[in-house]
């Protein structure tokens, strides 16, 4: 793969990363997306990803160029969001989301910044889940999974199928059997 300078759209990210206090190490890493875009990220922020953690070369000199960490499974527009998340999580760690969800409104179960963070298209949300899984960032995975759960909670089966492109492959008899078995759910 070839490395390219990150484009103007991501300029704001670079400014933020230079402004953040670096308590432990001034080292940065260069995270490289599927498309080859590079993002400089303080090492302490990048280490929120267990995957990145395992790839860090601890023997590099402090004044050496930022180590490149290839992330071929993560596209740029997702990686940008992931980095945003990790930064926020080092500054204001996400609260644990209680199980079971007390509300279908994600704003009621987690801090405002994080609730706003997941206000994205369904497809992008799923990409964030995949990235959280691949990069092994537990709070990101928990937030995105809880968000999907909140999108399901309270909806009717037909609404859920429509929202997520699910085919009802039951026969009417099978479906009736399951509904019968679930009658207890309707009890007060």
């Amino acid at each position: 793969y070839t490395t390219r300078q990150h484009n103007l759209a991501n300029f704001s990210i670079r400014i933020i990363s230079e402004m953040v206090e670096t308590p432990k190490s001034t080292k940065t890493l260069s995270l490289v997306s599927q498309e080859g875009d590079c993002y400089d990220v303080p090492i302490e922020v990048a280490k929120m990803s267990e995957l990145v953690k395992t790839m860090i070369d601890n023997d590099l000199e402090d004044d050496a160029e930022a180590q490149e960490i290839p992330l071929p499974n993560v596209r740029s527009h997702t990686l940008v969001k992931v980095i945003e998340f990790c930064k926020q999580n080092t500054e204001d760690p996400m609260n644990d989301i209680e199980k079971p969800l007390k509300s279908a409104n994600i704003h009621e179960v987690v801090q405002e910044w994080y609730a706003n963070f997941v206000q994205v298209e369904q497809e992008h949300l799923f990409e964030l889940i995949l990235a959280g899984n691949y990069m092994d960032i537990k709070p990101l995975l928990d937030l995105t999974c809880a968000t999907v759960a909140s999108m399901i909670k309270g909806k009717t089966p037909e609404e859920i199928r429509k929202t997520f492109n699910i085919v009802n492959d039951f026969t009417p008899e099978e479906e009736a059997r399951i509904r019968e078995e679930n009658k207890w759910c309707e009890e007060v």
């Binding site: 999974c145 759960a149 089966p157 199928r161 699910i166 039951f170 078995e181 679930n182 759910c185």
Partner: protein, 458 residues
């Protein structure tokens, strides 16, 4: 080895998908979710309450199998009970899902037979079924390389086993207990049926636990591990005694403030404990009253294959199910001649009437081969005292068996009690007193020198 049992819902392992070549059930039935892996789907499902979880079953066949996954319902039951009141007891009813429904509904409907789902492949959903039904192979049980002794004197025990820190099985102690030949399922149900017992973070009555043990199909069964059995039940306490060779009990000097130290263990076939080291640096003995236990042990310096402790010692990554460990690691390492574990792995099957000495710091995992009743105690003796003192001094955050707030205080408290014991006026056991005095003095000296060295280095 051919596994011909079929999953009650028709779920097949992932590999079968490549042979049968039909993934439609998953693709159509999960829709946009099909790009996520099964663990992620279970993560999403873990945020649902019981009613939402149940309602998922009607969406599609793929959702149906996830919705009925027993592990999710086990969590729901435990959640529901712990949120209700302080020490609720479980009344298990054939499965975790039906147990939950019984708790929520005045007229629980009869549960239908599972709908057979064709062409659904998942290792994650298939695994618990596989583990529960995999037989304990005869090959797992053949090696016996731990000494069996009878008529062992205290001195012999100390020189041959406790000081070298080697395991040993005593064959002639437990059969002298009243419990021997007396304790079994019927006895426990009849005479102690209403006793509350603690198993895996939840409470049962003895009777309801025995029902659970009979009916359950968990791949990681809950087992009774009750630290209060002797204090709440004098009759059970009177049916056993601590073997003489293990009678040193220096933590006993702490009285009520001592860490947890004795447990009644009851579990069904294939329940057990995956690899761990016993708490606080202590040694232990484990006696089988009914049933049999397969043990695998590794010395302190040797982390078992497949086990990954974190650097701070507080976490452990390992296969959750012991059967999984046996299937994936045990045989591989026995067969490889170059294996670094060769010669280090000790094994035995402890039978009724036998008691195993588990030396301090040894890794061990235990598998009940049958419904098994056992008693275990951990102890601090004149021999292992210096190791425990070092442990308490150097690893206060790894101390267990005490409320969090008391852990940082344990080291000083224990030293204080040892001091009182050593200076005590009454003349009983002067040999023990002198040994303890010597050990504590050496420990203090070493601690002082080490502190000095650290200061000089800094």
């Amino acid at each position: 080895f051919s596994f011909t049992m079929s999953h009650p819902y028709g779920i097949k392992p992932l590999g079968m998908c490549y042979i049968e070549g039909n993934d439609q059930c998953r693709r159509n039935g999960l829709g946009n979710f099909s790009k996520l892996n099964d663990e992620t789907l279970l993560n999403i499902f873990s945020y649902f309450g019981g009613k939402t979880l149940a309602k998922m079953a009607v969406i599609s066949k793929a959702f149906y199998v996830f919705s009925h996954f027993e592990e999710l319902w086990k969590v729901q039951v435990i959640e529901l009970l712990t949120s209700k009141n302080d020490s609720p007891t479980i009344n298990f009813n054939k499965s975790w899902r039906s147990t939950f429904i019984s708790l929520c509904s005045k007229h629980p409907p009869p549960l239908h037979n599972p709908i057979q789902i064709k062409n659904f492949y998942s290792d994650v959903l298939y695994q618990p079924f596989l583990c529960f039904n995999s037989p304990v192979k005869a090959e797992y049980l053949t090696t016996e390389n731990i000494d069996r002794v009878s008529d062992l004197s205290r001195d012999k025990f100390i020189t041959m086993y406790e000081i070298p820190n080697k395991p040993v099985i005593l064959t002639d102690v437990v059969n002298r207990w009243k419990a021997a030949g007396k304790w079994d399922e019927e006895f426990l149900e009849t005479f102690h049926g209403e006793m509350k017992v603690h198993a895996g973070g939840v409470n049962f009555t003895m009777k309801s636990y025995l029902k659970y043990a009979e009916e359950m199909k968990d791949d990681v069964p809950l087992y009774v591990f009750d630290k209060k059995f002797a204090s709440k039940n004098q009759s059970l306490r009177d049916d056993y005694f601590v073997p003489e060779v293990f009678s040193d009990d220096l933590f006993g000097l702490l009285g009520d403030e001592r860490p947890d130290f004795r447990w009644l263990i009851i579990g069904p076939k294939k329940s057990g404990s995956s690899f761990h080291i016993d708490p606080n640096g202590t040694s232990a003995w484990n006696a089988v009253i009914k049933g049999a236990k397969k043990w695998v042990l590794f010395p302190p310096s040797c982390v078992p294959p497949g086990i990954h402790p974190s650097t701070d010692g507080l976490d452990l990554a390992a296969p959750v199910s012991i059967m999984e460990w046996f299937m994936n690691y045990y045989q591989t390492h026995k067969q490889k001649n170059s294996s670094k574990f060769k010669g280090k792995m000790l094994e035995c099957v402890v039978k009724e009437g036998e008691v195993l000495f588990v030396p301090r710091g040894w890794w061990h995992c235990v598998l009940n081969l049958d419904f098994t009743i056992a008693i275990t105690q951990n102890f601090v003796s004149r021999v292992n005292l210096s190791y425990i003192l070092n442990f308490l001094r150097d690893n206060p955050s790894n101390i267990s068996g005490l409320p969090l707030s008391e852990r940082p205080l344990l080291y000083e408290k224990f030293l204080g009690e040892l001091k009182s014991f050593v200076e005590g006026k009454n003349s009983s056991d002067t040999i023990l007193r002198n040994e303890v005095r010597r050990t504590v003095e050496n420990h203090r000296k070493k601690s002082k020198t080490e502190r000095k060295e650290k200061k000089e280095q800094a």
